[in-house]
C-alpha cells in the first residue's frame, strides 16, 4: 500500500496531478466513508423498492377498487415529477411538519434525519417504476397457467406466491435490472440534502485541495466501476433465473 501512496506522491510532485485520496489518509477515509454511504443508500433503496413494487403489483391485480386507485395515483405522481423535487418535498416539506425532539443544547432534532428521508424518497420513486414492471411481468403469465394452479387446489394468494410471482420476475428481469441500475445513479441526488455520499465527499476534497480535474476522474471512474459491478451481478442473477428451454 505504501508503494501506491508513494507512487501517487511522486506523480503529484513531478507532474502536478494531485490524486490526494491515494496518499493522504484523511482524504482516503473521507472517500471511503462516502463510498460506504452510497452503497448503503443503493442497497436499502433497491431492496425496499422491490418489496413495494411487488406489493403494489399484487394490489393492482386485486379486487379492491379503492386500493387500486391509490396505487395508481401513487405511480402516476411519482413517475411524472422530478425525483429531486420529490426529495425536497419529503425532507423540507414533510420533515419540518413531523414532530421533533430537542437535543441537550436546545437544537431542534427531527425524528428522521436526511439519510432516512433520502432512503424513503428514493425508494418510493423507484417503487413506482417497479410496480409497472412487475405488472407487465404478471400479465405475461397466461391465464391458463393460473387456471391449472387453481385446478390443483391453489388459492389465489398461494398461486401468486409460488407460481405467478416467480414466473413474472424471471420474465421482467431485464427491465427490472435497468431500473435498479438507474436507482444506483439516482442516489447522487442525496447530495442536495447534504447526505455524505461519494459526490459530497469528493466535492469536499476538491474544494480544499483544489484538484478538481483529478477528483472528477476518480468520481467518474468510481461510478463507472459501481455500475459495472451492479450490471455484472444482474447478469449473473438473470442467468441463474433463466428458464431452460424458454427463449434464446
Amino acid at each position: 500500500m505504501d508503494a501506491i501512496s508513494g507512487w501517487f506522491q511522486r506523480l503529484y510532485e513531478s507532474t502536478g496531478f494531485n490524486f490526494s485520496i491515494f496518499y493522504d489518509s484523511y482524504d482516503w477515509n473521507r472517500y471511503v466513508s462516502g463510498l460506504k454511504m452510497t452503497l448503503i443508500l443503493s442497497v436499502t433503496t433497491i431492496l425496499i423498492s422491490l418489496v413495494l413494487g411487488a406489493a403494489g403489483a399484487l394490489i393492482q391485480s386485486g379486487p379492491s377498487r379503492l386500493l387500486r386507485s391509490l396505487v395508481n395515483a401513487f405511480v402516476v405522481v411519482f413517475r411524472n415529477t422530478p425525483p429531486l423535487v420529490q426529495l425536497f418535498f419529503f425532507y423540507f416539506g414533510l420533515g419540518t411538519m413531523l414532530p421533533a425532539t430537542e437535543t441537550a443544547t436546545g437544537m431542534r432534532e427531527p425524528l428522521l434525519n436526511n439519510v432516512g428521508w433520502a432512503i424513503i424518497s428514493l425508494s418510493l420513486f423507484a417503487a413506482a417504476f417497479n410496480v409497472e414492471i412487475f405488472r407487465s411481468g404478471i400479465e405475461a403469465v397466461p391465464k391458463t397457467t393460473i387456471e391449472a394452479a387453481e385446478a390443483l387446489g391453489y388459492t389465489r394468494f398461494k398461486a401468486y406466491c409460488h407460481i405467478v410471482l416467480p414466473l413474472a420476475i424471471r420474465v421482467c428481469l431485464p427491465a427490472l435490472n435497468n431500473n435498479l441500475v438507474n436507482l444506483l445513479k439516482t442516489t447522487t441526488l442525496a447530495y442536495a440534502i447534504a447526505v455524505p455520499e461519494t459526490l459530497y465527499a469528493l466535492k469536499q476534497i476538491w474544494s480544499e485541495s483544489q484538484n478538481v480535474l483529478e477528483m472528477m476522474i476518480v468520481l467518474l471512474a468510481t461510478y463507472g466501476i459501481l455500475v459495472g459491478v451492479l450490471v455484472w451481478l444482474m447478469h449473473r442473477w438473470e442467468r441463474a433465473m433463466h428458464i431452460p428451454g424458454y427463449s434464446r
Binding site: 397457467t145 387456471e147 391449472a148 385446478a151 390443483l152 387446489g153 391453489y154 431452460p244 428451454g245
Partner: protein, 250 residues
C-alpha cells in the same frame, strides 16, 4: 352441503346446467351422470360448450342455474370448500399448463407439498413412481421447455394424479399434439382407465373414444343431442345432427 354419498350413486351428476356469458347462452340445460369407474367421452363441434361444461364441473367457471354434484358435494354451493372438491377432481388441459420454472418432478410434487402440506419424502417417492408410471422415468430433472409436447402432457397427467383424485377430467388433451405424440398420451389414458379411474374426456379422437368409452355424449349448441354406448352410437345414431356430425368426421 355434502350429503351422505354412497358408491352406488353417480359420482358426477349434472342436472339442467345452464351457463350464460353475458347475453350469450353457452350451456342450455345439460343433464348427465357418471357412475364410479365409468368412462364417458363428450364429442361435438367447436363452440358447443364442451370445454365450458368440463370447467363448470371443476368449479373453474360458475354456472348460471342448475346443479352439479361430485361425490355428493354440491359444486354450486357458495360456501363450497374448493380444496375438498379439487382433491376429488383432477383436470388435464389442452395446453398442458406446466409451470415452466420448475422441473418435471417439482411440477408433480408442488401441489401435494404446498396445498395438501404432505411430508416431503413421501411426496417425492410417490411423484417419482407417478412419473415412472407415465413412462417418463429419466426425465425428472428436465424443465418443461426441454420436453416434447407429448412428454409435457404426460407430466401434466402425472401432476393431476399426484392429488389422488377420484375423477379425472380431460379437456381435448391431444388437440395440440403432433400425430406421433398423440398415441403415447392415449396409451397413458387407457392405462388409467384399465385401473378403474372414472374419466370424463372431451376429445376429437373417435377411434380412441370407441375403444375406451362406456358412454358417448354428443353436444351441439349447448345441449346434449344424444348419448349411448359406442357400439350403437357410431353405427345407429338416432338424431339427424349426430349423423351429420359423424359423417363429417368419420
Amino acid at each position: 352441503m355434502t350429503a351422505a354419498w354412497t358408491a352406488d350413486q353417480p359420482m358426477v351428476k349434472c342436472t339442467d346446467v345452464r351457463k350464460s356469458f353475458g347475453a350469450f347462452e353457452v350451456l342450455k340445460g345439460i343433464s348427465l351422470s357418471v357412475r364410479k369407474g365409468e368412462v364417458i367421452c363428450i364429442i361435438g363441434p367447436s363452440g358447443s360448450g364442451k370445454s365450458t361444461l368440463i370447467r363448470c364441473i371443476n368449479a373453474l367457471v360458475p354456472i348460471t342455474s342448475g346443479t352439479i354434484h361430485v361425490e355428493g358435494i354440491d359444486v354450486t354451493d357458495p360456501q363450497l370448500d374448493k380444496l375438498a372438491l379439487r382433491r376429488k377432481v383432477g383436470m388435464v388441459f389442452q395446453q398442458y399448463n406446466l409451470f415452466p420454472h420448475k422441473t418435471a418432478l417439482q411440477n408433480v410434487m408442488m401441489a401435494p407439498l404446498h396445498v395438501l402440506r404432505q411430508e416431503k419424502g413421501a411426496v417425492e417417492e410417490r411423484s417419482r413412481a407417478l412419473l415412472a408410471k407415465v413412462r417418463l422415468a429419466g426425465k425428472e430433472d428436465s424443465y418443461p421447455g426441454e420436453l416434447s409436447g407429448g412428454q409435457q402432457q404426460r407430466v401434466a397427467i402425472a401432476r393431476s394424479l399426484a392429488m389422488r383424485p377420484d375423477v379425472m377430467l380431460f379437456d381435448e388433451v391431444t388437440a395440440a399434439l403432433d400425430p406421433e405424440t398423440v398415441k403415447e398420451v392415449l396409451v397413458t389414458i387407457r392405462e388409467l382407465v384399465e385401473e378403474g379411474m372414472t374419466c370424463m374426456l372431451v376429445t376429437h379422437e373417435m377411434g380412441f373414444a370407441r375403444e375406451v368409452a362406456d358412454q358417448i355424449y354428443f353436444t351441439d349448441h349447448g345441449v346434449i343431442v344424444e348419448h349411448g354406448p359406442p357400439a350403437t352410437f357410431f353405427t345407429e345414431a338416432r338424431d339427424e345432427r349426430t349423423r351429420q356430425f359423424l359423417s363429417q368426421i368419420l
